[in-house]
């Protein structure tokens, strides 16, 4: 271990030694110390419970999100050198990526698809944590940090969406940022500050550029550090367990190097290879230069906001765009504080009954939401039925109260009809609302044509 004291080290050996701090010999002690002494590996403890390595427990989703951040930072920094954030030059600089800059199109594709994928991965990570009950004490606060990171991921995508300055970007951001105007009292001012004026223009592009390349990434970096640190402080991953297995407090530990690091590296390489192939084959969308005089028909927000845009077709904007999403977010944040059943931590969907209820609630959520969308298109007309009332009441508050009563009713129904525990009841409502939101998003993206009319995907012909 200790090189002989007699022979002096060469300068290269001395540099190497100064960097690695301690030579690696491969024995158990050295492996433990390697994790402690390495900045990146130090995110892990030096030993982990063997059963947390099960791939089908975590699916490596948190790590995957971390990998995407690294890819996005690397490709983003390259793109910064090729991009000019002004309405005159933005679009041409994006065009230049595909015509004049070596690998420009590929780097943009990689950045574009990684950004979109990250929303999906972060959302799946949230679902994994919820479905395994891993958000309960002592991990409640990290759940909140995770939600903040999800919002920042969406914000990063939203601000990046405008930068190509094509028709798609311009009108998606117009529609998306118009939602802000419906925030009570401060909405108009907020929108003016964000856009740097009443409409999207040069100031908006510069604001979004600054948000996209520095303000949001810096905030994410800070929160990611907190998030990773808390994972370790809160005792690492929750221990997975089978549905009929008794709780385990201790488990056999394995060494992080290499029992954890090896599968992580394999998963990262599989993900990276898949992304690289995808980015080489599928181009990021780019439409004609933005034209503020001509809105496309239909004009849709980015896909991750289509659930909210679909809600806007059914409710008064204040309710559809502000109140319901806010209630949803507050509910999401409150979940670990409402739920205290520690017995099911580590079991997917809580219990056998929980699994069955999740399936039942998903089916119910899909059917009810789809039914409501179709009925609202042809039958339901709150604004017409209560013509004398202001639209905010007839088409906003009233259906909102019905919706909330429906959700409470579903909870009580599940509790009584299926003798579900409180915790299984909360799970059922969560799945119900989640299924509804997914249906809203899918309908918004695939089943809305010109004038946002309900139609089948193959009937939609986009016009510009």
């Amino acid at each position: 271990m200790n090189p002989s004291n007699n022979s002096p080290l060469s300068i290269w050996q001395r540099v190497w030694r100064s960097a690695v701090r301690e030579p690696f010999t491969g024995d158990r002690r050295s492996r433990l110390r390697l994790v402690m002494n390495n900045l990146v590996l130090h995110l892990h403890p030096s030993q982990v419970p063997a059963r947390t390595l099960r791939f089908t427990y975590s699916f490596g989703l948190g790590g995957l999100a971390g990998l995407l951040v690294v890819i996005l930072a690397a490709t983003g920094m390259l793109l910064e050198t090729a991009y000019t954030p002004s309405p005159d030059k933005a679009y041409t600089s994006i065009l230049a990526l595909s015509t004049r800059i070596w690998f420009g199109q590929f780097i943009r594709n990689l950045h574009h698809w990684s950004g979109n994928l990250m929303i999906i991965v972060v959302a799946l990570h949230l679902l994994r944590v919820f479905f395994t009950g891993a958000f309960r004490a002592p991990r409640e606060f990290n759940w909140l940090v995770g939600i903040a990171l999800l919002l920042l991921t969406v914000m990063a995508n939203f601000t990046g969406y405008l930068l190509p300055w094509d028709q798609l970007a311009y009108w998606a951001i117009t529609v998306g940022s118009s939602i802000i105007v419906y925030v009570p009292f401060i909405g108009n001012g907020l929108s003016n500050v964000l856009l740097g004026g009443p409409e999207i223009g040069a100031a908006t592009l510069l604001n979004f550029y600054a948000l996209h390349i520095s303000i949001i990434p810096m905030a994410m970096l800070a929160l990611m550090s907190l998030h990773f640190w808390r994972v370790r402080k809160d005792g690492g991953l929750s221990l997975p367990r089978g549905v009929d297995e008794p709780p385990v407090s201790k488990d056999e530990n394995v060494l992080t190097v290499a029992d954890l690091v090896r599968p992580e590296a394999v998963w990262a390489m599989v993900a990276l290879a898949t992304l690289v192939v995808w980015a080489a084959l599928v181009n990021a969308p780019l439409e004609a230069l933005a034209n503020p005089d001509a809105s496309p028909n239909p004009a849709k927000a980015a896909w991750y906001f289509m659930g909210i845009q679909e809600l806007l077709l059914h409710f008064h904007p204040l309710v559809g765009a502000i109140i319901i999403p806010t209630l949803g977010l507050l509910g999401l944040g409150a979940l670990p504080y409402m739920d205290s059943d520690m017995n099911s931590v580590g079991i997917y969907f809580r219990s056998r009954r929980g699994r069955w209820l999740a399936l039942f609630s998903a089916a119910t959520g899909v059917l009810l939401t789809a039914l409501y969308i179709v009925l609202d298109e042809y039958v339901i007309d709150f604004a017409g039925w209560f013509y004398g009332l202001p639209a905010l009441v007839s088409n906003g508050i009233l259906p909102l109260i019905l919706l909330i009563l429906g959700i409470i009713g579903y909870y009580e129904f599940v509790r009584r009809a299926f003798r579900a525990t409180k915790c299984e009841g909360v799970l059922s409502v969560f799945v119900l609302v989640l299924a509804g939101f997914i249906v809203l998003t899918l309908v918004g993206v695939f089943f809305r044509g010109a004038g946002m009319q309900l139609m089948f995907p193959w009937e939609i012909t986009p016009t510009h």
Binding site: V193, G197, S295, H316, P317, M452
Partner: protein, 174 residues
């Protein structure tokens, strides 16, 4: 009493004189100053971000031309200014901001139907900008129309929201 008081051996009477212990007073002072610093930083950041409009662009005053240029019942688009200059059947003027009040799309004028029809979400407005068909929650916003001599000018620096169309919104040449 509290640990601090014991350590300082402050006589009880001293506290009742001042009403608030020195330690608490200082702590309150620091907290208040920290609060002021946070507010200052917030005001500076928001102020720095505030919209910066330049003269002559959208946000300034537009000279549209002589009154006679616009026949009664006509709708003339001004793309630079993002508005339509409407001349009503009885000769008055309205400047309508073309931004749909639903989700901000640019609303085109349909000459044959004599309506503004939003391509994004099918809101329909009449010639006065009043809502004929939801989802738009309110009529198109207005810009100030000024008649200087026989010249029509539209000030786009500030849009006026309105809940419904009202004939007093129309500006008539004298």
């Amino acid at each position: 009493m509290t640990e601090n008081q014991q350590r300082l051996c402050a006589p009880e009477s001293l506290h009742s004189q001042t009403g608030i212990p020195r330690r608490d007073f200082l702590r309150l002072g620091w907290t208040a100053l920290a609060g002021v610093a946070v507010v200052e930083a917030g005001v500076v950041s928001v102020g720095f971000f505030l919209p910066r409009l330049s003269e002559g662009e959208f946000g300034g005053v537009f000279k549209c031309g002589a009154v006679d240029k616009f026949p009664n019942g006509s709708v003339t688009p001004f793309n630079e200014g993002r508005f339509y200059l409407v001349r009503t059947q009885d000769g008055g003027f309205l400047a309508l901001y073309r931004k749909c009040t639903h989700l901000g799309c640019a609303v085109p004028w349909d000459q044959t139907k004599q309506q503004f029809i939003c391509p994004c979400h099918a809101s329909v407005f009449d010639q006065n900008g009043d809502v004929l068909n939801a989802p738009a929650p309110r009529p198109l916003d207005l810009f100030q129309v000024n008649l200087v001599g026989d010249q029509v000018q539209v000030d786009t620096s500030k849009q006026t929201r309105r809940d419904r169309f009202d004939p007093t919104q129309i500006v008539y040449p004298t």
